[in-house]
């Protein structure tokens, strides 16, 4: 990895210019995986007169992201880990082994020999604005801004040769190519974001009173356009150009828009810099909701107050050890319309290819494919703003000179929260609609403590933070819970809670099976392949009806993190400095399935067993972590969503440690350098958690398909001229 940054600041009486240039180059964990970024920024400022300033922003960013084209890095790494010992890896240059996966797929070939997908991002931000102070106390600002991004992606898929050892001839036999079809697809996207903003602020101070008033408005328009084309059947793996493809051709395009408008006003009043009051109001409109049904606009407001009590003379004597103290309180509301989908309010006809038969709209008659249209998205014309109401009290104090403490408690209630409603498939299998689902509450608190002191040459600066928030759905409009894949949202529970069976250990022997409630309609059966056997998960009869079925599922946790904390330690000693940053989560549930739960798990064909899976049930190992060992795909009911597979994801991690040395000034004067700092740092040095080895507790991925956490060591130098 390389990261370079150059900054420039040049000033004059009439003009001021800030410029910076950044270059970042990062190699991924596997071949064909890299990220490169150039960033150039110029902020010119012209002083036309004492009252008028013109301000410009010009920023250009260029990124190049490279990934393997036939699978994500996460997928390839997981496949490589799961590759059975008997699966062939690589026999020689360009000779990949039959790894026992679907259709000769081989993770090494996927990473290095089947092409890559290169995405180039070009972002140009231009903004032009002014700042005018026509009379004392009045400031008028406005700007026009436009950000254009033009990402292009080129995905090139080539074939790798797959071999198996031939034991008779002691050589290798070519068994086929993977993925079998070569292809190239290119896409071009044009995203334009245009915004206008105008606001005026009037500030007036008379005596101990300060009044500040602001009014303004802003409009935002996002437009998106893309087109893409692809072909199959390329002969030369080094010529990725569309004109050379001889197979199936395809192309497509799309466009969408989103418009937002808002008007806002704010009044601040303070007395003696001791008492503060703020009134806030805004009116927001969005094109995401139905204009015909008058659902586009929402009004929101807030009031807040503050009191710096340490300025009160009567308290100074009572609280002599408090050098600063402020009490804060606020109540207010906000709106949310951010649902991703720009046109959820109406049903639209769209076309979709055969490649997705679930939603395809094409049909073949009379020797040709006829392009059809259908409604693929379930519309909700009644959709409107989600509003939040939050009240908050907070306290900031500085005590005993070296301690700063900040504490907050808040309750945030979401009304008409925007959620995507899972509908029964009998609604036609359309994309689920967004609905104003009901109300939800978040209750939380935050506490941060800072200690800062200097002991001779030793400087100490330590900050600790801890926060918690508890989420609860208050009610749902339709009454019925929201059901996702293994998760469920219902009143009284956290949003998206796990809903499943309760495990009551394993069946210890055949009598245990016979004497327990019948599991899923299958009573004890002597046949070795029928029904529950010793070592299978025994589910609890939570509703007490003497049998285990879908009605025994209950809420068994949720993945919301609780008690998030962090600690940041800064130490300096002379020219040396040191930083340690750690963070953690006190309580959290992760649901494990796939590789995390099932030995030999694989979506297709052969896979291996992880070390953790060796602790499976045996008559002499009744308290095993995993149920009895069965061939892949025949786990019966053992891997249903159940409390068995909810694991603690609490952790503490040292995210970063760095040590730096600043070169003494006297050594630098001759070189006209004002500052040099040399540093080394290490990230992700230590993690304490109960997660399976190799699983990252920070990521809620049940099947272990994630980019492995990297321990990175960095050395660098900062030079200031």
């Amino acid at each position: 990895m390389q990261n370079h940054n150059v900054q420039l600041n040049a000033g004059g009486e009439k003009m001021n210019l800030f410029g910076s240039f950044t270059y970042l180059n990062q190699q991924g964990l596997i071949q064909n995986s890299a990220f490169q970024k150039y960033d150039l920024r110029l902020n010119p400022e012209f002083k036309v007169s004492d009252k008028l300033k013109l301000i410009g922003v010009l920023a250009y960013t260029n990124t190049i992201t490279t990934n393997p084209s036939t699978g994500s890095a996460e997928f390839i790494i997981r496949q490589a880990i799961g590759l059975p010992a008997i699966g062939g890896g690589k026999f020689g240059p360009g000779m990949y082994g039959n790894a026992g996966q679907s259709n000769n797929r081989n993770p090494i070939a996927m990473a290095e020999a089947t092409g890559n997908s290169v995405s180039k991002g070009n972002t140009l931000l231009t903004r032009f604005g002014f700042n005018l102070r026509p009379i004392d106390g009045l400031e008028v600002e406005g700007y026009w801004g436009r950000q254009t991004t033009n990402p292009t992606t080129k995905t090139w898929v080539t074939n790798a040769d797959i071999y198996t050892p031939n034991l008779t001839t002691s050589s290798y036999t070519l068994v086929g190519t993977w993925p079998g079809t070569t292809s190239l697809s290119e896409s071009y996207t044009n995203n334009v974001y245009t915004t206008y903003l105008g606001q005026a602020t009037y500030t007036k101070r008379f005596g101990a009173h300060t009044v500040k008033a602001l009014v303004g408005g802003q409009s935002e328009l996002f437009t998106n356009y893309f087109f893409g084309a692809s072909r199959q059947g390329f002969v030369n793996p080094n010529q990725p150009y569309l004109n050379l493809g001889s197979g199936t051709r395809d192309n497509n395009a799309g466009a969408s828009e989103l418009a937002l408008a808002g008007f806002f006003a704010r009044i601040n009043y303070s007395y003696d810099d001791k008492y503060f009051v703020e009134l806030n109001g805004r009116r927001d409109g969005t094109s995401r909701f139905s204009q015909a049904r008058n659902k586009q606009w929402g009004n929101f407001g807030a009031v807040s107050a503050g009191w710096i009590f340490t300025k009160e003379n009567f308290l100074k004597t009572i609280l002599p050890y408090v050098s600063y103290g402020k009490l804060r309180a606020s109540i207010g509301g906000n709106g949310n319309q951010n649902i991703g989908n720009n046109y959820a309010y109406d049903a639209f006809y769209s076309q979709s290819n055969y490649s997705n038969p679930i939603n395809g709209t094409n049909a073949y008659f009379g020797g040709t494919t006829n392009l059809g249209l259908a409604l693929l998205q379930f519309a909700n014309p009644e959709l409107s703003w989600e509003t939040s109401k939050q009240w908050n009290i907070g306290l900031d104090v500085q005590v005993f000179k070296h301690f700063t403490v900040s504490a907050d408690y808040y309750v945030k209630t979401l009304k008409n929260m925007l959620l995507q409603r899972t509908l029964p498939q009998s609604a036609g299998g359309l994309t689920n609609p967004f609905v104003n689902a009901g109300n939800m509450e978040n209750k939380g608190w935050e506490l941060s403590v800072n200690y800062k002191n200097q002991f001779g040459k030793l400087g100490v600066d330590v900050t600790g933070m801890i926060s918690d928030v508890k989420n609860k759905v208050l009610n749902l409009v339709e009454g019925t819970p929201f059901i996702g894949d293994g998760i469920r949202t219902a009143p009284g529970e956290a949003l998206g809670s796990y809903f499943g069976y309760v495990s009551a250990g394993y069946f210890s022997d055949s009598n245990d099976v016979k004497n327990s409630p019948v599991q899923f309609g299958q009573a004890w059966n002597a046949s070795p392949t029928v029904g529950s056997k010793p070592g299978d998960v025994k589910y609890a009869d939570t509703n007490g009806d003497g049998k285990i079925d879908a009605n025994d599922r209950v809420f068994i946790g949720n993945s919301f993190p609780r008690y998030e904390y962090s600690i940041n330690i800064n130490l300096t000693y002379g020219n040396w400095d040191m930083n340690i940053f750690g963070q953690g989560v006190g309580q959290r549930n992760n649901y494990l399935s796939g590789t995390g739960a099932v030995p030999f798990n694989s979506a297709d064909f052969a896979a291996s067993l992880l070390d953790i899976h060796k602790d499976y049930w045996r008559p002499d190992n009744q308290n095993a972590t995993f149920p009895r060992l069965l061939p892949s795909g025949s786990g019966g009911n053992n891997f249903l969503l159940a409390s068995q597979w909810i694991r603690s994801a609490a952790y503490f991690r040292i995210k970063n440690i760095s040590v730096g040395y600043t070169v003494p000034k006297q050594w630098l004067n001759k070189a006209k350098i004002s500052n040099i700092r040399i540093y080394v740092s290490a990230s992700n040095l230590l993690t304490l958690s109960k997660a399976w080895k190799g699983f990252d507790p920070e990521i809620n991925s049940a099947n272990a398909e994630f980019y492995p956490l990297m321990r990175t060591y960095t050395a660098g130098v900062n030079v200031t001229f």
């Binding site: 055969y354 049909a363 249209l373 259908a374 009998s426 609604a427 025949s634």
Partner: protein
């Protein structure tokens, strides 16, 4: 100075005044349901979208009906798959089996697409010629009825929609009785039939589309489902009397692309088409049926011994009553449809298993004598014109004992029970990219439906034997004479099995005949373990159900599988649990 102030004020004013318009954004690349379907071209496009939802596949490329057939007594599926687990009954059919879920989803997708069309096209009713409008609507009505027919047959009472429901409606829907839905479908199909007549729609307008014949045929099938034999007889008789359809003189021509394109006699009335102008989707029926001694690939769907033994001898006798049936050579002297439907050991198979010739054995076509009894493959050498013995046979049933490992680890089944499918083995195109269509309704089925309805009504006359004998005659089987209701019922049921095997009718047939539990509970056995020791001929009960208990040790076993479907709950599939989770008003089928 002033200049800048003026610029600000004017742009702010513009923003305020234009706000409503600024926020009025419609999709740029799609049409709103409030305005679309306003003319004929748009209605035709919407109709294509409805047809698209009628393409029912498992894992994209296996026709759903074909997969479902593997859950019945006529077929087997490689262990571990959803259809195999359904077949196992008590030993495998769990409430969360994926096949009923896929089937439910596919059928409702079709129903709601049709609802979108039927209701949506009212936007443009005034702008379109009435006959054309009614014809387009008629096609959507038939497709919707096709969806409900299957939903009722699979699940019984189901939520019933005649228009796209709203959020609240769909979350609170209860199950509508089959009788109510069927009565409505009768009316819809009658309306459709009349509309096709008025529009002059030809008997087979284009392969893959529906028409009057399909409307009437579907009405007959819905009537059979609810055992309304009168309506079934009338509707199927109307097709026969219409004279638009006849049997294709060649049975095999029904199951390859050139034969389907020619569609001699217009026997194919409704078919699931696969596009030849794009690579995907393909019909994988041939791929998954090719034995491994041909391609090394993973044959996974197999015919059963039960199916093999339904085929009569050439004199029209069931094998237990045959004078010509030879247990040592069971493939000889049999109804020709046996060979046209499946390959038995000793049959000469033809496959189009390679895209380019790999001589000497593959000249695009590859000829192999199906062998499961030794570690050799008998291949036709195109260079010499002779038959060669090639060592190494992945279908050899002795392989496991001989320690040749992959055959058991990969599929565990050693090539089914000694038989592989030949029906739909289209040798006119490369197997791995096959575009052969999957027939959803053909005239032979209509003839047999008519005969069955009349037999059940006990109105047995020459038209009944005429219909059965037309089907039999094409295969070269002797005509049957008028007989008792019981005798004809037995014959008719056997005829449906051998004529329509693998085409996805069996599940509904067994349920209609109330013999699903009996027919689908057995030890899975197959061909002789040792060709020198012919297994005893099975006995049959009145429903043609064979009993192999006398020969079980002489036959290939299919991984010791025992199917147990005696529980009455198997009369219907379970409603997908997620449907009930999302809508507590929906009740589960009894026993599930």
């Amino acid at each position: 100075m002033k200049k800048y102030t003026i610029i600000l004020l004017s742009s702010a004013a513009l923003a305020l005044g234009a706000c409503q318009k600024f926020l009025d954004r419609k999709p740029l690349d799609a049409s709103s349901s409030s305005t679309f379907l306003s003319n004929q071209a748009e209605m035709e496009q919407g109709l294509i979208g409805v047809y698209a939802a009628g393409m029912w596949s498992i894992a994209n490329n296996t026709p759903m009906h074909y997969a479902i057939e593997s859950s019945t007594d006529l077929a087997l599926r490689r262990p571990g798959n959803a259809d195999d687990q359904i077949a196992l009954g008590d030993a495998g059919f769990l409430f969360n089996n994926s096949l009923p879920i896929s089937a439910w989803n596919a059928a409702y997708r079709l129903v709601q697409r049709a609802n979108q069309q039927i209701v949506g096209m009212e936007n443009g009713k005034a702008a379109v010629n009435a006959a054309v409008y009614n014809r387009i609507k008629a096609e959507a009505l038939v497709l919707r009825a096709w969806g409900y027919y299957h939903l009722m047959g699979w699940f019984g009472d189901v939520p019933y929609y005649r228009a796209m429901p709203g959020v609240t409606e769909v979350l609170g829907a209860s199950r509508t009785p089959v009788a109510t839905i069927a009565a409505d479908m009768y009316k819809d199909l009658d309306e459709a039939a009349a509309a096709f007549d008025a529009a002059g729609t030809p008997a087979v307008q284009t392969l893959g589309r529906v028409n009057k014949g399909v409307a009437l045929g579907l009405k007959a099938k819905i009537a059979m489902l609810i055992k309304d034999y009168r309506t079934a007889a009338t509707a199927s008789k109307a097709i026969i009397d219409g004279g638009q359809y006849a049997l294709n003189p060649s049975f095999p021509a029904l199951f390859n692309s050139p034969g389907q394109t020619a569609n001699a006699g217009k026997e194919i009335m409704f078919i699931q088409m696969y596009p030849t102008d794009v690579n995907e989707p393909q019909n994988w029926m041939t791929v998954i049926g090719v034995p491994r001694q041909v391609t090394n690939s993973q044959s996974s769907h197999f015919p059963s011994q039960q199916l093999v033994d339904q085929f009569e001898d050439r004199l029209g006798n069931r094998i237990d009553a045959s004078l010509t049936y030879d247990p040592a050579n069971p493939r000889l002297n049999r109804d020709r449809r046996l060979f046209w439907t499946l390959y038995m050991p000793g049959d000469t198979m033809v496959h189009y298993a390679s895209k380019t010739a790999i001589l000497p054995y593959n000249n695009l076509r590859e000829r192999t004598v199906f062998n499961i009894y030794s570690n050799i493959r008998r291949k036709f050498n195109w260079n010499t014109g002779a038959w060669d013995n090639v060592t190494g046979n992945n279908d050899w049933i002795g392989a496991q004992a001989a320690g040749i490992q992959w055959q058991v680890s990969a599929t565990g089944s050693i090539g089914g029970v000694g038989y592989v499918w030949n029906k739909y083995n289209d040798t006119t195109q490369y197997t791995f990219e096959s575009k052969v269509g999957f027939i959803l309704m053909r005239y032979a089925d209509i003839l047999l439906t008519y005969a069955e309805a009349k037999i059940e009504l006990n109105e047995i006359d020459g038209t009944v034997t005429g219909a059965i004998n037309a089907v039999r005659a094409r295969a070269g089987q002797p005509a049957t004479l008028l007989g008792s209701q019981t005798a004809l019922r037995t014959l008719l049921r056997r005829e449906r099995a051998v004529e329509l095997a693998g085409e996805g009718h069996r599940l509904f047939d067994l349920r209609r005949w109330d013999i699903y539990s009996k027919a689908n509970s057995f030890n899975v056995v197959g061909a002789a373990l040792d060709p020198a020791v012919p297994p005893a001929i099975p006995t049959f009960d009145a429903d043609n159900i064979p009993d192999y208990s006398a020969s079980i040790n002489q036959r290939i076993r299919f991984r010791a599988q025992i199917r147990t479907n005696t529980n009455v709950k198997y009369k219907l599939w379970p409603i997908p649990q997620s449907e009930i989770d999302n809508n507590p008003k929906l009740t589960q089928n009894t026993g599930w």
